[in-house]
Symmetry: C2
C-alpha cells in the first residue's frame, strides 16, 4: 500500500537521522538504523540503495533545515538591533531543541567539503549581501559596520550562537566543574549574546 510505503520510508528516514546524527557517517551501522526503525537491513537497501545514498538524503535534509534558520536575518523587516536580538533568541532556541546538529554538520562538512558546496551552489550570497545593505542603509551610520568587516561580523555572530553546542561536551564539562549548569548557561546566552554583539558594533 502506498500509505504504508510512505510510513515505512518515513520511519527509516527518521531512524537514519537519529543514528547518523548520533554516530556520524563512519560510526553509523545499517543494522542500528534497521533495529531503530523496527525493520531489517534488507528493507533499508530496498528503499535507499546504499548507505551513502541514505546518508546523503539525511544530510541534505538537515543542512537545508539549518540554512533555513538563517533566513530571517535577510528577510525580517526589523532594525539592526532588533534583528540581532531576534536571531539569537530564535537560533539558540532552535539549537536547544537540536543540540547535536552543529557537531554533526560541521564534522561531516569537514570530512567531505564537496557535499556542502553543492548545496551552497543555488544560494546567491552576493545578492543577500546587497539586500542586507539596502535594508539597513539608513541605520548604518550609527554602527561600525563596513563592507570589509561584514563577513567577520557574520561569522562572529554565528560562532557565538553555534560554538557552545559544537563544543558542548567540553563546555558542559568545564561548567560542571565550577558548579554551573549547561542548560541555564544557554538560556542566559540568548540575552548575553545579543547585548554583547550590539555593544561591539555600536559607534
Amino acid at each position: 500500500m502506498t500509505e504504508n510505503d510512505k510510513l515505512t520510508e518515513e520511519r527509516i528516514f527518521e531512524a537514519a537521522t537519529d543514528v547518523f546524527v548520533d554516530k556520524g557517517m563512519d560510526g553509523a551501522r545499517m543494522q542500528d538504523i534497521a533495529s531503530y526503525a523496527g525493520i531489517n537491513k534488507a528493507l533499508l537497501h530496498y528503499y535507499f540503495r546504499t548507505k551513502d545514498q541514505l546518508f546523503n538524503a539525511v544530510f541534505e535534509m538537515i543542512a537545508r533545515k539549518i540554512l533555513k534558520k538563517f533566513a530571517p536575518v535577510f528577510d525580517e523587516n526589523l532594525t539592526i538591533e532588533a534583528k540581532i536580538r531576534f536571531f539569537f533568541r530564535e537560533h539558540i532556541a532552535f539549537l536547544q531543541e537540536n543540540p547535536k546538529l552543529p557537531g554533526f554538520i560541521l564534522n561531516e562538512i569537514n570530512r567531505n567539503p564537496a557535499r556542502i558546496k553543492k548545496l551552497l551552489k543555488n544560494i546567491h550570497f552576493e545578492k543577500l549581501w546587497e539586500k542586507l545593505y539596502e535594508q539597513h542603509k539608513a541605520e548604518l551610520d550609527n554602527y561600525n559596520i563596513t563592507e570589509d568587516t561584514m563577513p567577520q561580523l557574520m561569522v562572529s555572530i554565528a560562532a557565538i550562537s553555534v560554538f557552545p553546542f559544537a563544543a558542548k561536551g567540553l563546555i558542559e564539562g568545564i561548567l560542571e566543574k565550577v558548579g554551573l549548569d549547561f542548560n541555564k548557561f544557554i538560556e542566559e546566552r540568548k540575552e548575553f549574546a545579543a547585548a554583547f554583539v550590539i555593544k561591539a558594533i555600536k559607534k
Copy 2:
C-alpha cells in the same frame, strides 16, 4: 636498538596523528597508518596494542597541546586589553598552523565526552577564575565583566577564535562565492576579533 625503537614508535605516532586528525577515530584505518609510517599493521599492534590505545595516545597529546594554548590567558602579566589582543593573535596563529585540530577535537569529544572529562579532572577552574579576578581587580571597574557573565565572555572569545576553523569547510565555501579568500579572512580576524571583544566589554 633502543635508538631505532624510538624512531619507529615516533614515526608510527606521527603517522597516526595525521590519519586520525584527517579521518577521525571511526574513519581511520590501521592499514592507512601503517602505510603512512612505512611499516606493516603487525608492527602497529606491537607498539600500541589496539587501535583504541593508539587513538587515546594521539588524542591526549593533542588535547594537552590545545589546553596549553589557553595558559597565557591566566599567566601573562598584561592588562585586560593587551591580554585579549595577545590571545587572539597567538591563538589564531596556532590554528593557522593546525587548522584541522578544532574539528577533530570537538568531534571526538562529542562522540565520547568521558575522554575529555578525564583530562579536565586535574585542572582547577575555580582557582583559575580567582587568579584572573585577582590579576585584573584594579581594572575591572572600567569593564562590563561580572562573575555571572565571565563564563559567557570566555566561551564567546573561544568561539570567535575557534569557530572559523571548526566550520572551515562551510565558511571557505561561502567566502569563495563572494570572491574572498579564507586565509586572508583569518589573517584579518586577529585584529578584528580583539577590537570586537574589547569594544563589547568596555563600559
